[in-house]
Symmetry: C2
């Protein structure tokens, strides 16, 4: 049983983007795309697109291109996105509420099934159809709802503690919006998005006169 062939890390980033564009092509009724087309709407070279896709499956047809439905399904299946993923959100402040109301998740295969907060004045309120529960209910919900992903949107000082709780509850992956690196046991995936860092990078690019770049975030082991 061959383990999984090693998907280069930068390629994994791009595969999410191909998937997104594929969904768009699908909606628009486009039947077939070439590596050239797929790449150009993302600012990626055709050769790069082919190399990335080839490490996932031979989904293209020579002389023709990639059939959108096939490619879409291949990408989804290969990365476990064919099934529904369940996530919980911890921290219902500004960012948390934005995530609960975020449209593009709806059509996605990932859904936020529950939200938690420590603040009694927030507990019980409803956002995007989900009623905020007390943090103590976290472990129970993660287990009974078979939740696999956690989103952290609490203040910096509480981020690590929340991460620990999520891991203890059985979550397998974490997305963190607090501006700290969170440490998780090996075997758990985690990454961070920091708006301030993000904006600074743009400022840097402006100063340096650079014009292309790729978004940020921060990794964790």
């Amino acid at each position: 049983m061959p383990t999984r062939l090693p998907v280069p890390k930068p390629a994994a980033k791009r595969l999410s983007l191909y998937l997104r564009e594929c969904e768009r092509f699908q909606e628009d009724g486009v039947a077939c795309v070439s590596s050239e087309e797929l790449g150009s709407c993302l600012g990626i070279s055709a050769a790069q697109v082919r190399r990335d896709l080839s490490c996932v499956a031979q989904a293209g047809q020579r002389g023709v291109g990639y059939e959108v439905p096939v490619l879409l399904e291949t990408l989804q299946r290969e990365f476990g996105l064919a099934r529904e993923w369940r996530a919980v959100l911890v921290g219902v402040g500004n960012i948390g509420r934005a995530l609960l109301g975020y449209g593009p998740f709806r059509s996605s295969t990932i859904s936020i099934v529950a939200a938690f907060d420590r603040d009694p004045s927030v507990i019980g309120s409803t956002w995007g159809g989900r009623t905020v529960m007390p943090l103590d209910a976290l472990a129970h919900v993660v287990q009974s709802e078979r939740v696999e992903l956690g989103v952290i949107a609490v203040p910096t000082s509480a981020a690590q503690e929340v991460a620990d709780r999520l891991v203890a509850a059985g979550v397998r992956g974490i997305l963190n919006f607090a501006p700290v690196r969170i440490v998780v046991p090996s075997g758990i995936s985690a990454s961070s998005v920091d708006f301030a860092v993000e904006l600074r990078r743009i400022a840097m690019d402006v100063v340096l006169g650079a014009s292309g770049s790729t978004g940020v975030g921060e990794g964790t082991k």
Copy 2:
């Protein structure tokens, strides 16, 4: 006059993080850090830290480490963050409001000075002390307030148009939260953050059994 030595792109990403940690050390009253210490709180090797920092300035002292205030100032100055950067936000929906209420910007050298929306029912409301203005006022404000950065938090369908307006108004860098790549003229910096893509990457990592990674985003020319 030597232009600017080429800062490797991945290094630029990390420099923002060093800056963030430096601010934290400064607040905590730490006087001096080694490359080892700075790296470990970010999950980055000491050698990597030294290499990154060396391409910006020789701010360290052999046998001792980096003096926090010196390093902080060096990083800020080298990347133009010593001065105040002004940004505008377009799109006061869920994400926009989260950004207007985002704490960590306060202490930062980047501030969102104005917010715009197309929707009359939102115009005139106040968030985080900023009253939402009509989109038509954009160009005027950007010019009179000497705004250099723009943040896009509008629906996908409007993102490119808003980007065009921002560029026309004179903005030099753009951070985009809509799940599309926006195209900007060369000389303008832009990058995107897509929550759904972000969460999917985590899901991928879980499936692939990977455990470390770095956040996403998407570049534009």
